[in-house]
C-alpha cells in the first residue's frame, strides 16, 4: 500500500493524506504553523485548493463541498479556529455527506502566535472527535482515517497538530489516491441542514448519541493502543509528547492515544490497573489528565510537567524520572537576535514616522507587528486579526478630543481583507474619528508570501479579480482615502499629520510591494554607501533599525571638522537601496555607490 518512501514534514504529509483520500475542495487562510498544508496540496492537480479571505469563510466553503457529498478539508492555525468557531459548532449538529476534516495547527511556545491556546478543548466544546498524530507518517494516515470517520459517524473530524509535528520531517510511505465512497451531487435534506430551532432541537440528541458511539469506537480504534513494557511506570500520552516520552523512557509501558477526544475510558481504566504508577504526558493544558482524574484514577500530570510552553525530551525526562533541575552550563549573556524587518521593507519608513510623531498606534497581525521592537518602537496594541480598527474606534469613543490626532490604526492588506472590513464599516456607521493606515504590500508576507483577494492571483497562480482597496474603502463610506509611497518620508509624515487630526473616518493606503517579492518590488536593489568623510556620527540612520546599517566605534573628527564617537556603515550585500537612510541623513553622507 505504501509504495514510495520520502521525507515529509507533518504539513506535507497531511496534504499527501488529503490527496490520497480524494479530497475535492480544500480551503485555508495562511497561518504559522499550518501554512504549508495548502501550499503542498496546491502542488497536486485535481482538488480545488484556495486561500480564503479568512478561516470562517474557509470552513464554510469546505462545509458546502461536504454537503454536496465531496471530501473537503479546512486548514487553520489554532487562533484561526476562533474565527471559524461559529460555523464549527453548528456543523457539529448538521453533519455532512462527504467527509470533512478540520486541521487545527496549534503553536505551543508561541513561536509565531499571540497566545498558546490548547485547541483540544474545541473538540469537547463542539462535540466532535479529534485525532492527534505524533509524526509525519501518522499525520498522513490520520488524515485518511479522519475522512473515513467523518463519513462513518456523520461528523466533522478535527485533526490537531502542534508546531513540532507540523514542522518536523520524517519518513512517509506514499500511495496512489483512492476514489471516495460517497458520490458527490445535489441532495436536498433541509431538515438536517437548516438549523432553525425546531430542526436543531432534533439534531442535538443525534449529536449526543454520536459522541456515545464514538466513545465506544475509541475502545477498539487501533490507533489507541497499549505498548507494554516495564509496568512500574504507565504513560498515557499522544502527539509529539509520545515521541519525547518514548525517547527518554523506552522501557516503560505506554497507552498511546491517536484519538484524544472522546477518550477510551475502559482502555484507560484497564491500563491504569496494570501499572504501578500512572502518568499523563501532554503539552499545555491537563486535557487528558482531568478526564482521567474524573474517572477516579490517581495520576501524575501537571504536577510533574509544565503547564506552559512546549515540552521537550529533557523536560519529559525530568518529570518522569523525578530528576532535580540540572546544573546548566552557565550561559553567557549574549546579544539577542530577534526577527527584524528586512532591508528595504516598505513598513520601515511608516514606523519611523509614527515613532517620530509619538502616536498611539493600534496594531494588527503581520510582519509590521515587528514595528513594536526598538528602535522603531511604534506599536501599542496587538491582539488578533483585524482588532487594530476596533481598538482605535474604542479609544476615540472613550477619549474623544483627548485622543484626536494622537491615535492611528495600522493593518496589513491581507489582514484588512481577513477581518478589517467590518471594523472600518463600523467606524463609518458610528461616526468614528479614526484614521486607518492600510500597509498594502500586495501579499501575506509574514507566513511566506501567499496570495489573497487583493493580489490578483489565486493559490495556484492563476489570474483573478483584484479587489481595489481605495474603491472598497469608499464603498464603505470613507470620504478621505489617500494613497502614499512609503519610501517618501516627507510625504508620509505630511499625510499622516493631516489625516490623524481629521475628525472623520480616514484611510491612508501605504502602497509598495513586499521587498522579498522580486517580481514586483520598487526599490532599486542598488546598495547605498556612507561617505566616511561626511558622516557626523549622529546615528539618525541607525534609528531606522535596518539590518544593513551598522555602527563602527571610532572616536575622532570627520572631514568637516565634526567630533564623532563613531560612524555608520552600510553592508552592500544586505542593502536594497530603499534610500530611507539617505533621506534621514542631515549631512548628505549617504549616497549611491556611484556617488549619486
Amino acid at each position: 500500500m505504501n509504495d514510495r518512501r520520502t521525507v515529509l514534514s507533518g504539513n506535507e504529509a497531511i496534504a499527501r493524506g488529503a490527496y490520497e483520500s480524494g479530497v475535492k475542495v480544500a480551503a485555508a487562510y495562511p497561518g504559522t504553523p499550518s501554512t504549508e498544508i495548502l501550499e503542498s496540496l496546491g502542488a497536486y492537480s485535481g482538488p480545488h485548493v484556495e486561500w480564503s479571505p479568512n478561516e470562517k469563510v474557509a470552513l464554510e466553503t469546505a462545509m458546502g463541498a461536504a454537503f454536496g457529498g465531496a471530501r473537503a478539508l479546512a486548514v487553520m492555525k489554532h487562533v484561526g479556529v476562533n474565527v471559524a468557531a461559529d460555523p464549527l459548532f453548528t456543523l457539529s449538529y448538521t453533519g455532512l455527506r462527504g467527509g470533512l476534516v478540520l486541521v487545527t495547527a496549534d503553536d505551543p511556545e508561541m513561536h509565531s502566535s499571540q497566545n498558546e491556546q490548547d485547541n483540544r478543548h474545541y473538540a469537547r466544546f463542539a462535540k466532535v472527535p479529534m485525532l492527534e498524530p505524533s509524526d509525519s507518517q501518522e499525520a498522513k494516515d490520520y488524515t485518511q482515517m479522519a475522512f473515513e470517520l467523518s463519513e462513518r459517524f456523520d461528523t466533522p473530524v478535527m485533526l490537531r497538530t502542534t508546531t513540532r509535528v507540523s514542522h518536523s520531517k520524517s519518513i512517509v510511505g506514499e500511495a496512489e489516491p483512492a476514489v471516495p465512497p460517497v458520490k458527490p451531487g445535489l441532495v436536498k435534506d433541509p431538515v438536517k441542514l437548516v438549523m432553525l430551532p425546531a430542526n436543531a432541537r432534533k439534531r442535538h440528541p443525534v449529536v449526543e448519541k454520536r459522541m456515545e458511539d464514538l466513545a465506544r469506537f475509541a475502545e477498539t480504534f487501533p490507533e489507541n493502543r497499549a505498548e507494554w513494557g516495564d509496568k512500574k511506570a504507565g504513560i498515557i500520552t499522544s502527539g509529539i509528547s509520545y515521541a519525547y516520552a518514548k525517547e527518554v523512557m523506552p522501557e516503560a509501558s505506554f497507552l498511546k492515544l491517536g484519538m484524544v477526544y472522546p477518550l477510551p475510558r475502559e482502555m484507560i481504566r484497564s491500563f491504569a490497573s496494570q501499572v504501578e504508577k500512572l502518568y499523563v504526558v501532554e503539552e499545555l493544558d491537563p486535557f487528558i489528565e482531568e478526564q482521567v482524574r474524573a474517572m477516579g484514577l490517581a495520576v501524575e500530570g501537571k504536577s510533574a510537567f509544565p503547564l506552559m510552553g512546549e515540552l521537550n525530551p529533557l523536560l519529559v525526562e525530568k518529570g518522569l524520572k523525578n530528576l532535580p533541575p540540572a546544573a546548566r552550563e552557565a550561559a553567557a549573556k549574549l546579544p539577542a537576535r530577534p526577527p527584524i524587518m528586512c532591508p528595504g521593507c516598505p513598513h520601515r519608513g511608516i514606523f519611523s514616522i509614527l515613532n517620530k510623531m509619538k502616536l498611539f498606534v493600534t496594531g494588527d497581525i503581520g510582519c509590521y507587528t515587528l514595528g513594536f521592537l526598538p528602535p522603531l518602537s511604534a506599536i501599542d496594541t496587538c491582539v488578533c486579526m483585524g482588532a487594530s480598527i476596533g481598538h482605535a474606534m474604542g479609544l476615540d469613543k472613550a477619549l474623544g478630543e483627548e485622543a484626536l490626532g494622537k491615535v492611528v490604526a495600522v493593518i496589513g492588506d491581507s489582514t484588512f481583507l481577513h477581518s478589517g472590513i467590518t471594523g472600518l464599516l463600523n467606524v463609518v456607521y458610528n461616526r468614528g474619528a479614526v484614521t486607518v493606515i492600510i500597509l498594502d504590500n500586495h501579499t501575506t508576507a509574514m507566513t511566506g508570501r501567499q496570495d489573497h483577494p487583493g493580489t490578483g492571483c489565486t493559490l495556484r497562480g492563476e489570474e483573478t479579480f483584484e479587489v481595489d482597496l481605495t474603491k472598497l474603502a469608499k464603498a464603505l463610506g470613507v470620504k478621505h482615502v489617500k494613497t502614499i509611497n512609503p519610501y517618501d518620508l516627507a510625504a508620509v509624515e505630511r499625510v499622516i499629520r493631516r489625516e490623524a487630526r481629521r475628525p472623520e473616518p480616514s484611510v491612508i493606503i501605504s502602497r509598495a510591494p513586499c521587498v522579498l517579492s522580486r517580481r514586483e518590488r520598487k526599490v532599486s536593489g542598488k546598495p547605498l554607501a556612507v561617505d566616511p568623510d561626511l558622516c557626523a556620527g549622529c546615528r539618525s540612520c541607525l534609528r531606522l533599525g535596518c539590518p544593513a546599517v551598522a555602527w563602527v566605534k571610532e572616536e575622532g573628527i570627520n572631514a568637516m571638522g565634526k567630533k564623532r564617537k563613531g560612524r555608520a556603515v552600510i553592508d552592500e550585500f544586505l542593502c536594497n537601496g530603499c534610500t530611507l537612510c539617505a533621506q534621514v541623513c542631515k549631512f548628505g553622507a549617504i549616497k549611491g555607490n556611484d556617488g549619486k
Binding site: R5, V7, T32, P33, T35, E36, H111, S112, D135, T163, R164, H167, S168, K169, S170, I171, I240, A243, Y244, K246, E247, V248, P250, N312, P313, L314, E317, A326, R328, E329, A331, A332, L334, P335, A336, R337, P338, P339, I340, M341, C342, C367, L370, P375, M446, T447, G448, R539, L542, G545, P547, V549, A550, W551, K553, G566, F573
Partner: protein, 192 residues
C-alpha cells in the same frame, strides 16, 4: 551501520541556508538506510532571527528534538549563534564552525559588543573542532550562497556515508546550471 542515534544540531541566522542543508541531510540519511527525523521552526525565522535545526538519524528515531546535552555534531553557521546553544552539546562533541560573524541589531546599533574568543570557547569544548572559512570557500566555488553546501562537505568528512549519496542529493536540490558550483563547494568543504 551505527546502532545508536546520531544527533546533529545546526544553528545560525535566518537566510543562511540552514534549512536547505538539513533537508539534504535528511534525504541522505534515509537513502543510507537510517530512520531520520528533523525539526525546526518556520515563520519568524525568515526575518534574520536566530535559527536552529535538529537532525537525528539511527535505526529508530522517536523524538525530532535533540535532548539538551546530547548533540554529537554541532554545525554553527555563525559564531555568536554557536555560543547560544552550548547547553545542547554532548560531553564529546564534534564542532564545525563557519568563521563568519553577522552582527545582531544590538551590536549594529553600538549598544552591545559582539562576543570575543568564540573559537577558543568552542575548541576547548570540542573533542573534534574545525573552523571553516565557508564563506570564502563558497565564493571560491563561485557562489556566496553555497556556504551550506561547503559545510555539508565538512560534515561528510566526519561521517561514513558514501560520497555518491551526498552528491546525488545535493544535485537534486538545485537547478542543473547550479550543479557544478555546488559540487565544487562540497569538495572544498570536504577538504577544509
Amino acid at each position: 551501520m551505527e546502532n545508536r542515534v546520531t544527533n546533529i544540531l545546526l544553528v545560525g541566522v535566518g537566510g543562511q541556508g540552514i534549512i536547505l542543508a538539513s533537508e539534504i541531510m535528511a534525504d541522505v540519511f534515509m537513502e543510507a538506510g537510517y530512520d531520520v527525523k528533523k525539526s525546526e521552526v518556520h515563520g519568524m525565522a525568515q526575518r534574520g532571527g536566530s535559527v536552529s535545526t535538529h537532525v537525528r538519524f539511527g535505526p529508530k528515531v522517536y523524538s525530532p528534538l535533540i535532548k539538551e546535552g546530547e548533540a554529537d555534531i554541532f554545525i554553527a553557521f555563525e559564531e555568536l549563534e554557536a555560543l547560544r546553544y552550548l547547553s545542547f552539546l554532548s560531553p564529546h562533541p564534534s564542532i564545525l564552525l563557519n568563521e563568519q560573524r553577522l552582527n545582531p541589531p544590538g551590536v549594529s546599533l553600538g549598544n552591545e559588543d559582539y562576543p570575543a574568543d568564540v573559537k577558543e570557547v568552542l575548541s576547548q569544548r570540542a573533542t573534534t573542532f574545525k573552523a571553516i572559512p565557508a564563506r570564502d570557500l563558497a565564493l571560491r566555488a563561485g557562489d556566496v550562497r553555497a556556504v551550506n553546501v561547503v559545510l555539508l562537505g565538512a560534515l561528510h568528512s566526519i561521517l561514513s556515508i558514501p560520497e555518491k549519496v551526498w552528491t546525488e542529493h545535493i544535485l537534486k536540490r538545485f537547478p542543473p546550471k547550479a550543479g557544478p558550483v555546488n559540487l565544487e563547494a562540497f569538495r572544498l568543504g570536504k577538504g577544509s
